[in-house]
């Protein structure tokens, strides 16, 4: 499929004749990035898959009315982030496990996960990330793994650049300390 710009995709989608093609182009351009964005927060592939499907259906239902005030990319990321946080909060409410047990569970879960083949360092990094507050984890992922600019993160999370820099700085320090202590 030919790669189209956001403007072209939106133009296709706004024309009822080309809407389905436009949506296919949107999937081609963004589904993978959205998946990884969600997966890094959700950890589990099945959870990430469920969240992503909900996100894409939501996007389909509301894309025709996308005002274009923000970039398409920002709007998609915002939906994905909100959907992921809602999912994780619901899951958290159901769970009665303490943080320490959660970390042990995470380690066991990742070791048994057929879709995780990370090294010892990557495993420790995931454990370190799991200890961060949700917002710091989100900021760290977006900056460290997805290499987004603070401006982009700021538009997605609707937070000031200054606050994001502080969040990232704190997160990086905490992760460094944890990984240093746990990686030989």
């Amino acid at each position: 499929m030919e790669k189209h710009s956001d403007q072209e995709i939106l133009a296709f989608i706004r024309n009822p004749v080309n809407m389905e093609y436009g949506f296919r182009c949107l999937l081609a351009n963004y589904q993978e990035r959205l998946y990884w964005h969600i997966r890094r927060m959700a950890i589990d592939h099945e959870d990430a898959n469920d969240i992503l499907q909900n996100v894409l259906l939501k996007v389909y239902r509301s894309i025709a009315n996308f005002r274009g005030d923000a970039q398409l990319f920002t709007w998609l990321y915002r939906i994905a982030t909100n959907e992921t946080l809602t999912f994780l909060n619901k899951k958290q409410k159901k769970s009665t496990v303490a943080l320490e047990s959660e970390l042990t569970n995470l380690e066991e879960k990742l070791k048994a996960d057929p879709y995780f083949d990370g090294s010892a360092v990557q495993l420790e990094l995931q454990k370190a990330l799991a200890q961060l507050p949700e917002k710091q984890r989100l900021v760290f992922n977006m900056r460290y793994f997805e290499e987004l600019s603070y401006k982009e993160i700021s538009e997605i999370l609707e937070t000031s650049v200054g606050a994001l820099k502080a969040s990232y700085h704190h997160a990086a320090k905490k992760i460094e300390a944890y990984v240093k202590a746990n990686v030989g």
């Binding site: 999937l27 950890i43 499907q53 274009g68 990319f73 990370g118 987004l148 982009e152 700085h169 320090k173």
Partner: protein, 165 residues
């Protein structure tokens, strides 16, 4: 869209030098099932086909015409006028107002009703309306009462006698 990774790496090296040296940690270690993304697209498009096509709403970046505010006000004004008309007509044209109901009642019916529901009305109110003569205006002749009592003493029980005296 993305910031050059050199800048991000430099920033990380200043904050967390140990982490910055762990290049392998840049990869999360997560995998997806084979052909996952192709299947995802197909699955989503299948689900989307079941959803009625959303109708685009035009988000005019162009300026609204000068008369649009007037039209909106006219619409709201029209609705308000209709509501007001309905409220007024309820009072003006409603045939079941209490005065009109009373006109339709004959004097005979009214009297009959009062007789049947005599206990429901306050004496003072009935006197005020001229439906009852106040008791203090009844002047009984004591001699006549005495005579009546003597003639009918055997027919009157004690309670009635007490009430008359």
């Amino acid at each position: 869209m993305m910031e050059p990774s050199k800048d991000i790496q430099k920033e990380l090296a200043e904050t967390a030098p140990f982490l910055a040296r762990l290049s392998e940690s840049k990869k999360s270690g997560f995998q997806v099932p084979e052909h996952y993304f192709e299947q995802l697209s197909a699955g989503v498009l299948e689900q989307v086909a079941l959803i009625p096509k959303p109708q685009p709403v035009s988000h005019a970046t162009e300026k609204a015409p000068w008369y649009s505010t007037f039209l909106r006000l006219r619409w709201v004004g029209g609705l308000a006028a209709i509501l007001l008309g309905l409220v007024v007509s309820m009072y003006v044209f409603n045939p079941s107002t209490s005065d009109e109901q009373l006109i339709e009642i004959t004097a005979l019916e009214a009297t009959q009703y009062l007789n049947d529901h005599l206990d429901d009305f306050e004496t003072a109110l009935m006197v005020q309306e001229g439906l009852l003569v106040p008791t203090e205006t009844l002047e009984l002749d004591e001699r006549a009462v005495q005579q009546y009592l003597e003639q009918n003493i055997d027919d009157i029980d004690v309670a009635t006698l007490e009430s008359l005296l």
